[in-house]
Amino acid sequence: MYHLYIVENPKGRVGFGIAKDYVERNQFYCGHAGDILKFPVVYGGLRSHAKALEKTIKTELYDDIWTIEKENKDWKTEWLIKGKNRKFLESYINNLIEDRHIKLKIITRDYDFTQE
């Protein structure tokens, strides 16, 4: 099983990503941030569908993605701009899953690795 997750930092900015091992991925986020970061929602299913959904988010939410300006080429992160909260992202993903028959299901909510 492969996973697509929503991540939220302590200031409320939300992001997204895909991982085979979401437990380890959550540990990486926490290790970098020096704090516990929650995965408000983790979806599980086919790898190809998780990857396709991530691509769709990057395409359709192009204007809502937090971009870091760099000298030569701007860096599109996997975080949304401020003002786009977890409710917005979860609702957008859930609608996509339903409308486009994407084979992903919510497998856990409000996850962080300390729960293991």
Partner: protein, 400 residues
């Protein structure tokens, strides 16, 4: 010299065709220098390095605008391009520039080179299929490769590309990959693994034919029964075994379920209203508008900071001069310019296209001994000399 004076001077030039091509004067932009390093560098800059090349999209847009806005249908190639774009637009598919802000919209595509290689029929079938089944996402170039091969091979084999096959392929792409974009990525991953396994080589040679071959082999693995030309299946059939195991295992139980396409609710496509090729007009903007946009950007501000840091000044004396110079007075340095491409010259002089109004200003350096050495434009200069030589009463008899 004022623009009026320059125009009057140009008007006063003898407009008769020269008897001797050497006496024909061309507009020449030059820098007075004896630096050959400058000449070599100038050639590099004028021929690519430091110059923003015109994209395939810009070439296509120009052709479409000439037909649509200017109503000029004298060029068959431009008319054909516009027709093909219209076919795509009719199916809510739209060419856009790479890195465009419009890439988020459904039906857009950027691979103009592949689009240009397709026939009208291939474009019609590919874009109508996209519009019917994947109307909610941009077109991946893999779609063009798949349909180019499908249409050609079905026609070549005198077989019918059935609606059922088209729908089942859409179903397969939807259920396994959520569309062509992810299929293409998965296909390349599988092909990479197959290639490494088969040839023990890390240097992958991707083959665009793998798009259609992988799709059709998967179609058969999932129980697809429609007839397919053998020529499309002869391509490295075992490479599909390198797709993800979790996908291939789905073929073990009720595989035909994965050929069923499920409807996706259609939403209005914003591109219908904002398509730049439909809304094009002879709109102009001032240099000031452009400059105001430019100076706000971080990239520009950083560049200007670097000017200050390096004490860079704009040296007015380094501006090039413009003069009319006789063709016979211009020399070409063989070490700076490329070999003359005679076929390219013949194309420039194609009577259907050749127009003196499109002549480019020659770029030269003028050395202290008064020589004009061409750094760019040898093809233009040679074509002009060739035309006058060939048309001249004195020399035309020599031209067979």
């Amino acid at each position: 010299m004022s623009v009026d004076k320059i125009e009057k001077k140009l008007d006063s030039i003898d407009l008769k065709l020269p008897e001797n091509w050497k006496n024909f004067e061309v507009q020449c932009q030059y820098i007075e220098t004896d630096s050959w390093a400058f000449a070599r560098r100038a050639f590099s800059y004028l021929n690519g390095k430091g110059k923003k090349p015109q994209s395939k999209y810009h070439l296509l847009r120009n052709a479409v605008n000439i037909v649509r806005i200017d109503k000029d249908t004298t060029d068959e190639e431009e008319v054909a391009i516009e027709k093909k774009v219209a076919i795509a637009e009719n199916n809510q598919c739209f060419p856009v520039e790479e890195n465009s802000q419009l890439l988020k919209y459904p039906g857009v595509f950027t691979n103009i080179a592949t689009f240009n290689q397709m026939t009208d029929e291939e474009v019609e079938i590919a874009t109508s299929w996209q519009n019917k089944y994947f109307h909610y996402e941009p077109i991946h170039v893999g779609t063009f490769f798949v349909f180019k091969n499908l249409v050609r091979e079905f026609e070549g084999s005198k077989m019918i590309l059935s609606d059922k096959l088209l729908e089942e392929l859409a179903g397969l792409l939807q259920t396994l990959f959520q569309g062509m974009k992810q299929y293409s990525e998965s296909c390349k991953e599988a092909y990479n693994l197959w290639y490494k396994n088969r040839f023990r080589s890390e240097k992958l040679k991707w083959n665009d034919d793998a798009y259609v071959a992988g799709l059709l082999h998967l179609y058969q693995k999932f129980g697809g029964k429609e007839s397919i030309p053998p020529s499309l299946l002869g391509f490295v059939e075992d490479f599909i075994n390198f797709f993800d195991d979790d996908l291939l295992e789905l073929a073990d139980n009720n595989p035909e379920e994965f050929l069923k396409y499920e409807e996706v609710t259609r939403k209005p496509n914003p591109m219908v209203k904002i398509n730049p090729l439909k809304r094009a007009s002879n709109k102009v903007v001032s240099i000031e508008d452009r400059m105001n946009g430019l100076v706000k950007t971080k990239a520009w501000q950083n560049t200007m900071k670097a000017w200050k840091k390096e004490n860079k000044v704009f040296n007015m004396d380094r501006r090039p001069k413009v003069s009319m110079v006789k063709l016979g007075d211009i020399v070409i340095d063989c070490n700076i310019q490329r070999e003359l491409d005679e076929k390219h010259c013949a194309k420039i002089a194609d009577p259907k296209r050749f127009d003196p109004a499109l002549m480019q200003v020659l770029q030269c350096i003028k050395t202290t001994d008064g020589k004009f050495i061409s750094t760019d434009g040898q093809h233009t200069a040679t074509v002009l000399a060739g035309i006058f030589y060939s048309l001249s009463e004195k020399t035309k008899l020599e031209v067979k």
